[in-house]
């Protein structure tokens, strides 16, 4: 059943992927820009902005050809997040004019404008307002107005900025439009080219049954487009729930203690809503309105999703303690980034992990102390270097690192010095250690030694390393490990065997 939208505007952003990139990097607006996808050498242009198209850059063109055609071409990889943010921004912009929208595709929004004349004036003014609203969120949209979404969409694509098709003029307005100006499914595009169909008028003139017989549902859809008819229902877009709780204050707060009490109430409301939807917060945004008119805004990523008030409050308070607002607070707003809640079953045979809230508390303290960039987990790197490690994001639920070193017969315990201590070693002609100065005793003679155990690596980089390990028994009965570093020609005392 087709609902009866009488007047509809289509807000359309050309080359939306490129427009989304320009929105996030406004400095690129005047330059030829292409969004590229794939891996070299098969990387291809997926979208190009107007300046790039003027230079002859087209979608599906190979990157190498594109650069050859336009040496000044800037390229950016396709990024889903950028496009999603821009899509949402466009919807938000349109939502300011009409509550009834359809999110048809990235960069295509249908706006039900029936009845808006009384608020915003005639249709051209409404179209202009929509165009301005889009520009205000960084997207240069074109707006078409017609009695059907299909016609409005075509009108938007052909408009330089706004275009209005009067009621009843749809067929006449669409007839001269070049079919190549629209996006068709590949099979339809190929058939239209083969049939020599140049305009929407010619397409509309084809027998509908014949189209159905040859192209099936896609043929009927194409015919509808040509005739400017809507066959699908209007699917209204509703903004996703906004997980925010705010509190305006009648008085000024100038202590953290007082602020904590307000925040606790705000968080209680927020967590109740979030938990009721079987969600949890994995990030918080705090926005404090200050008496001065300024705002204190903080975005906090959480170590794991939570839906309890206390740990969230602790996190916020630690952050506020580290970075207090610059003046009295007159308004509080907390926004949660909600994600599905995770079940966390315990594992038999493993020591109980710290409670999520305790871990989160510790982490938030650490972050407050040293900064978010300096908190991560250490993991063993895949390297022949005995001390190789790497920083990895902290994942509290990660299983213990499995080891396949089951064949190693437990031998002596080894106490390592971190970092190893520089020592002086006397060697024979073959480089075998004879005496050590500065290990456990001042001077010790080597009684027996085993080695060297040689490893080296990263020869391709500035961090080239080489190690020669010697296990030596000293005359003072100690058994120690000495390390010779041929790259820097130095000896190190690495530890002792028990």
């Amino acid at each position: 059943m087709v609902d009866r939208v009488t007047r509809v505007a289509c807000v359309w952003v050309d080359a939306f992927g490129a427009a989304a990139v320009e929105r996030s990097e406004p400095a690129l607006r005047e330059s030829p820009l292409a969004v590229v996808a794939g891996t070299a050498p098969a990387r291809r242009v997926t979208e190009a902005n107007a300046a790039a198209r003027e230079a002859g850059i087209r979608p599906l063109m190979g990157e190498a050809e594109a650069v050859a055609r336009c040496p000044a071409l800037l390229r950016r990889p396709a990024a889903e997040e950028t496009v999603a943010a821009a899509r949402r921004a466009l919807l938000d912009a349109c939502y300011g004019l009409s509550p009834r929208l359809e999110d048809a595709a990235p960069g295509v929004v249908f706006v039900d404008i029936a009845g808006l004349e009384r608020l915003f004036g005639a249709e051209p003014q409404i179209a202009e307002r929509l165009a301005r609203a889009s520009r205000s969120v960084g997207l240069a949209a074109r707006v078409g107005v017609a009695a059907t979404r299909t016609a409005a969409r075509v009108a938007a694509r052909l408009a330089t900025r706004t275009a209005v098709i009067a009621a009843g003029d749809e067929a006449a307005a669409l007839a001269p439009v070049d079919v190549r100006a629209l996006d068709w499914p590949p099979a339809v595009a190929a058939a239209l080219a083969r049939w020599g169909i140049a305009t929407l008028g010619e397409l509309a003139a084809l027998p509908r049954d014949g189209l159905a017989a040859r192209l099936g549902a896609a043929g009927l859809m194409a015919h509808d487009v040509a005739c400017g008819r809507d066959r699908t229902p209007f699917r209204p877009w509703t903004p996703p729930p906004f997980w925010e709780e705010a509190q305006a204050l009648d008085w000024e707060i100038d202590t953290l203690l007082a602020l904590e009490a307000v925040l606790e109430r705000v968080l209680e409301r927020l967590t109740a809503r979030v938990a009721a939807a079987y969600l949890a917060a994995d990030g918080l945004q705090l926005r404090l309105a200050l008496l001065s008119g300024a705002h204190h805004a903080r975005a906090l990523a959480l170590a794991c999703p939570m839906d309890e008030t206390r740990p969230l409050l602790t996190v916020l308070m630690h952050d506020l303690a580290a970075r207090p607002p610059q003046g009295p607070v007159v308004g509080v707003a907390v926004q949660a980034h909600a994600v599905p809640r995770r079940a966390a079953p315990g594992v038999l045979g493993r020591p109980a992990a710290p409670a999520v809230r305790d871990l989160a508390t510790v982490l938030s303290r650490l972050v407050a102390l040293v900064g978010a960039d300096n908190v991560s987990a250490v993991t063993v790197a895949d390297s022949h270097h005995a001390d190789a490690w790497m920083a990895a994001p902290l994942q509290p639920d990660t299983d213990a690192v499995a080891t396949d070193d089951t064949n190693v017969t437990p031998a002596l315990a080894f106490r390592r010095l971190r970092p190893p201590r520089a020592v002086t070693v006397e060697t024979d002609a073959a480089g075998r250690p004879l005496a050590v100065r500065g290990a456990l005793a001042d001077v010790a003679r080597v009684v027996r030694c085993a080695g060297p155990w040689r490893t080296s690596g990263e020869w391709w980089d500035a961090d080239r390393w080489s190690r020669e390990e010697w296990d030596v028994a000293l005359d003072d009965t100690a058994v120690v490990r000495l390390l010779h570093d041929p790259v820097h020609d130095r000896w190190l005392f690495e530890g002792a065997y028990d």
């Binding site: 050498p41 895949d382 040689r454 690596g457 391709w460």
Partner: protein
């Protein structure tokens, strides 16, 4: 002092694992004082021939073996003790290769049991069959595995291999291995299993690890080597490393003494040719040759007499070299071709042999042309002669190959391998990837290195990389330079040679391991053709040549239309052929159709067969680089006197007007001027040939000068001769080869001149071939008055055919050039394009269509759709190109009708009810686009003809009108770009061929213009060029000062770009 022999060295023929050439291992082993070294590559004996040669040169013994991958992934090193062991190893590898899919092994220890004799088994390193159990501490498992090996190979032939790379875990395993060996009473032998022999090899091995594991150095982690210890160690290093196990080191050299097999003892036997009772191979060959001489030269006359003398000379040498059987085998293959209607022609140096000519192996008369036999066969070389047979490519050639398999047994013959090695671009790309360089830099480096050639790393680093804008202080860039240089020529994987076949008496897999080829029914030997030749294995090259297929098809088509052509009896001096050649009217003519050939033909102005031989040889890098082309042309045109560097050279160079053009002339010059023997002259050619070495070249040059001095040739004359000889040896074309090609060129020109329809039909059936795309061939046919008819579902076969029906004309136009008029009535048959030209139409569907039509004619498009079982897209394409026209309806109407053809019964009525098509008919441009899109050719108007009035308004001349212009005049030409070329010898000049409706205009683009308008010149399908008209000796070209892109069609017009 304990000596040591490395028994487990692995070269780069352990593909993507070892990091040195086999030669380097041999040389380094000799340098380090080893008396022998064993090459034990993974699953093959790929490198042993080269290793053997290098070891002989280095004065050490080459021990051979291979490390076989077992089904459980373990690798078992086996060393060859004697010939039986060699045969067993070859057969075991063959069984493993032929018995499992590529890259996997199904070989178990039990499978190895029948092949154990003559082989010595080591227990391997970290991937050996004992290693896993030993690492686990599973003493019983390790003991069982060792006992199994002892059971198969015997206690005396099984050795527990110990290695010490200064690794803690390995040391623990070593202790267990020593205990195990003592308990099992098996001897210990020390090896180091080196992957490289020179400093820096570890980096190459790590790069290979990354390539094998499809990762980069930053992510390869512990898959890389742990240290620099997998190098070739000398005795002192091994003694020190195994100071506690000196016997294990000592045993390596004792064991080496036992391994007595060398490749000299390969056991290859040449297949015996079945002879008439009481005859010997030489006597039988003499009989066949005598018969051939009578047939070729007649019984009397001076030429016949000379031929008989030459044949006697050759047969005597063949007898001394015991090669009669070889000639009989090649003759047998040629006979098979002849009796099975397969064109065959020997090429290469075999054309120098009167015996080959008499046997019908070659078609050029070496006696009449005074060709040099020593270029083909020489007593001092000790090699098999090289006979290459050109065959029609495709199914006919495959029949010949299968005949050889059938004649000598499935395991008695095999294709030679082709080792694919790292070269500039591939090495740059892979090294860049492994070093984790940004993708853009990888691309840039890969493009750059193409021009670098062989350089030492410092030169690459300091000059080229710096010029390329790379920061040469960066460690990874420095490593790139070193690794790129080091990777050059290292083998990457094994391919199959295009046509080289080797054969053996009995089983070839007793001599060399065989592997399955990608093509079913074929096997490949693990050695390339040079290795086979060096080891004395008979090789015959069966090369596919599309022109041979085209000639064969053309002759068949001529006979089907009532004519007759015998290639062996073509009139030798046909005026029409030479007129055509002189006008450079050579599209489709073998070897002389390229742009460069066309630009030279009018200047050389061929008037007899030998001129054609010269013509083919002159457009080659040798004469061009050696600056021989212009002197020859000036002398030919009488603008320069014919002179000789020395009077003694006159008999040799007289035929080429004093300018050396052929390799044979070079040999003769050395023989006459410096007193070289035939063999010495051939040695000179090789010294300056592709595998040149500075040392050898210098030695030979000294010898050449000394020889000339003895003959009294010194000073400038000697310098000139040295210059000619040395600059020419690398690229010079053999006269024999050129003569063989000239025969095919003459034959194709003859067919083009006299049997155009058959010639073009055959040419179109063998596309892609030659220099031009089908669209240009079709246009050329039409310029010559040959009518080409479009694809028609009521007439077309899969292939293009000749039609007797003369009622239909494609364009209604005929050529008015009297020289180009066909000379026989039946050659006016039009060519019907075959269904093979319909893009996207499956051959099986097309053949089903032809079969359905044979049952009864189609009456409508719908009838066709229902009876031919074509897919929807296939029908639509046929309709779009007008192939359904005879069934009624226009192209668009048929497109509309056929688009609904595959409806199910439920909806079929909807389409049936339509009385007429609602679509507008195609205009000429749309038809053109549909033709190009559907077939790649158009039989309608040329794209340029459609815009001619517009072009005329802009002062653009037609290609045909250019010769009427004035030299030096400024002109504009335009056309579809059918050829773009930038030859390496042209100093950056680019040559374009622009085709319009009247012919082809040649445009020369300067490097500066190319730099300014690179993209338009490289990518635009239609160009307008403005510049100076150049007319010289009938060669017409435009030197462009400006180019401009014209319109684009919706479909790409094919062109031959930079090929």
């Amino acid at each position: 002092m304990t000596s040591f022999v490395e028994l487990h060295a692995q070269s780069a023929f352990s593909f993507l694992e070892g990091a040195e050439q086999p030669e380097t291992i041999a040389q380094e082993a000799a340098r380090r004082g080893m008396s022998a070294v064993a090459l034990v590559d993974r699953d093959g004996l790929y490198g042993v021939a080269r290793f053997h040669r290098a070891a002989v040169e280095a004065g050490i013994r080459a021990l051979l073996g291979s490390e076989l991958t077992l089904a459980d992934g373990a690798r078992l090193p086996l060393l060859v003790e004697d010939r039986e062991g060699w045969q067993n190893l070859c057969r075991a590898i063959t069984a493993a290769k032929l018995g499992a899919p590529k890259g996997r092994s199904a070989l178990t220890l039990d499978d190895l049991a029948p092949y154990a004799d003559g082989l010595v088994c080591l227990t391997g390193g970290a991937r050996g069959p004992l290693a896993a159990a030993v690492r686990r501490g599973d003493r019983d498992g390790a003991r069982r595995a060792l006992d199994r090996l002892v059971g198969i190979f015997g206690r005396a032939n099984t050795f527990v291999e110990v290695q010490r790379h200064f690794d803690r875990a390995q040391e623990r395993a070593l202790e267990r291995l020593v205990t195990l060996a003592r308990e099992a009473r098996v001897s210990l032998v020390a090896t180091n299993q080196p992957l490289y022999a020179r400093p820096g090899g570890r980096a190459v091995a790590d790069v290979f690890t990354c390539l094998r594991e499809k990762t980069d150095l930053d992510h390869a982690g512990r898959r890389l080597l742990a240290s620099n210890e997998r190098r070739l160690r000398d005795a002192a290093e091994m003694r020190e490393a195994f100071h506690d196990l000196p016997a294990a080191v000592a045993l390596s050299s004792e064991l080496a003494l036992r391994l007595g097999f060398t490749l000299k003892d390969l056991g290859y036997r040449f297949p015996e040719f079945p002879l008439p009772p009481g005859s010997s191979p030489l006597a039988h060959l003499r009989d066949l040759t005598a018969r051939g001489v009578r047939a070729r030269y007649g019984a009397h006359g001076p030429l016949a007499e000379r031929a008989r003398r030459q044949v006697e000379h050759e047969l005597a040498m063949i007898g001394r070299l015991d090669l009669a059987g070889y000639f009989l085998i090649v003759w047998d293959i040629v006979e098979f071709c002849r009796t099975h209607d397969i064109l065959v022609q020997g090429r290469g140096s075999a054309a120098n042999s009167a015996v080959c000519y008499a046997l019908g192996i070659t078609a050029v008369d070496p006696v009449g042309m005074e060709l040099l036999f020593e270029r083909f066969l020489s007593e001092s070389r000790g090699e098999w002669p090289d006979i290459d047979l050109d065959l029609p490519s495709g199914e006919r050639r495959e029949r010949v190959i299968q005949y050889v398999y059938q004649r000598y047994g499935r395991l008695g013959a095999g294709m030679t391998a082709n080792v694919i090695s790292y070269r500039g671009r591939s090495a740059a790309r892979e090294v860049g990837k492994v070093l984790g360089l940004p993708a853009e830099m990888q691309d840039r480096l890969a493009r750059l290195v193409e021009n670098w050639g062989y350089q030492d790393p410092e030169a690459v680093l300091t000059r080229h990389l710096h010029e390329a804008g790379c920061d040469t202080r960066h460690p990874r860039i420095r490593k790139f330079a070193a690794l790129w240089t080091r990777l050059q020529d290292l083998p990457r994987h094994l391919g199959q040679h295009s046509g080289g076949m080797v054969i053996a008496a009995g089983r070839l897999d007793n001599v060399v391991p065989l592997e399955p080829a990608t093509m079913p029914g074929r096997v490949v030997v693990q050695w390339d053709k040079d290795d086979c030749a060096a080891l004395g294995i008979v090789k015959v090259d069966l090369l596919g040549l599309r022109m041979m297929s085209a000639l064969q098809e053309a002759i068949t088509l001529v006979s089907e239309t009532g004519g007759h052509v015998d290639l062996a009896r073509l009139p030798p001096d046909d005026p029409a052929v030479y007129r055509m050649l002189q006008r450079a009217d050579t599209i489709g003519v073998f070897q002389v159709e390229s742009r460069a050939q066309m630009a030279t033909l009018p200047r050389i102005h061929p008037e007899r067969f030998y001129d054609l031989v010269v013509q083919i040889a002159i457009i080659r890098p040798g004469p061009i680089v050696g600056d021989m082309v212009h002197p020859y042309i000036r002398r030919r045109r009488g603008r320069e006197p014919v002179t000789y560097a020395h009077p003694r050279l006159e008999p040799i160079l007289a035929r080429t007007l004093g300018v050396p053009l052929f390799q044979e002339q070079l040999l003769r010059m050395a023989m006459v001027a410096a007193g070289f023997t035939g063999s010495e002259a051939e040695e000179l050619r090789r010294a300056f040939g592709f595998k040149r070495s500075e040392r050898r070249m210098a030695e030979v040059e000294v010898k050449l000068r000394e020889g000339m001095a003895r003959q009294g040739i010194t000073g400038p004359a000697a310098d000139e001769i040295v210059h000619q000889v040395t600059s020419f040896a690398l690229y010079g074309f053999p006269e024999s080869h050129s003569s063989s090609f000239a025969l095919l060129a003459y034959a194709s020109a003859y067919l083009k001149a006299h049997h155009g329809a058959a010639f073009y039909a055959a040419l179109l059936n063998n596309q892609p071939m030659g220099f031009y795309h089908s669209a240009t061939v079709v246009n050329d046919a039409r310029h010559h008055g040959v009518r080409v008819l479009p694809v028609d579902v009521t007439r077309s076969d899969w292939l293009c055919t000749l039609e007797r029906d003369d009622t239909e004309r494609a364009d209604g136009k005929r050529s008015h050039d009297p020289l180009l008029q066909p000379t026989h009535a039946w050659s006016q048959s039009p060519v019907r394009l075959g269904l093979r030209y319909v893009k996207g139409l499956r051959e099986s569907a097309a053949r089903a269509l032809v079969a359905a039509r044979a049952e009864r004619p189609f009456v409508s498009a719908r009838d066709l759709a229902s009876r031919a079982q074509l897919a929807g897209d296939e029908l639509q394409t046929l309709a779009a190109i007008g192939a359904l026209a005879r069934l009624g309806g226009t192209r668009r109407a048929n497109i509309w009708t056929t688009a609904a053809a595959d409806l199910g019964p439920l909806f079929a009525h909807a389409a049936r009810d339509e009385a007429t098509s609602p679509l507008r008919e195609m205009n000429p441009t749309e038809r053109l686009v549909a033709d190009y899109a559907g077939t790649g050719v158009t039989l309608g108007a040329h794209p340029m003809a459609l815009r001619r009035s517009e072009l005329m308004a802009r002062g653009v001349r037609r290609a045909r009108d250019l010769p009427a212009g004035r030299d030096g005049q400024r002109v504009r030409v335009a056309g579809s770009v059918i050829v773009r070329q930038r030859p390496g010898t042209a100093k950056g000049f680019v040559f374009l061929s622009l085709e319009d409706e009247t012919g082809i205009a040649n445009v020369i683009v300067t490097p500066g213009l190319f730099a300014r308008q690179r993209w338009a010149l490289v990518a635009e399908p239609f160009l307008l060029a403005e510049g100076i008209l150049q007319i010289q000796d009938g060669v017409v070209s435009v030197r462009a000062a400006r180019v401009e892109p014209l319109w684009r069609l919706e479909h790409v017009v094919p062109s031959h770009d930079f090929g």
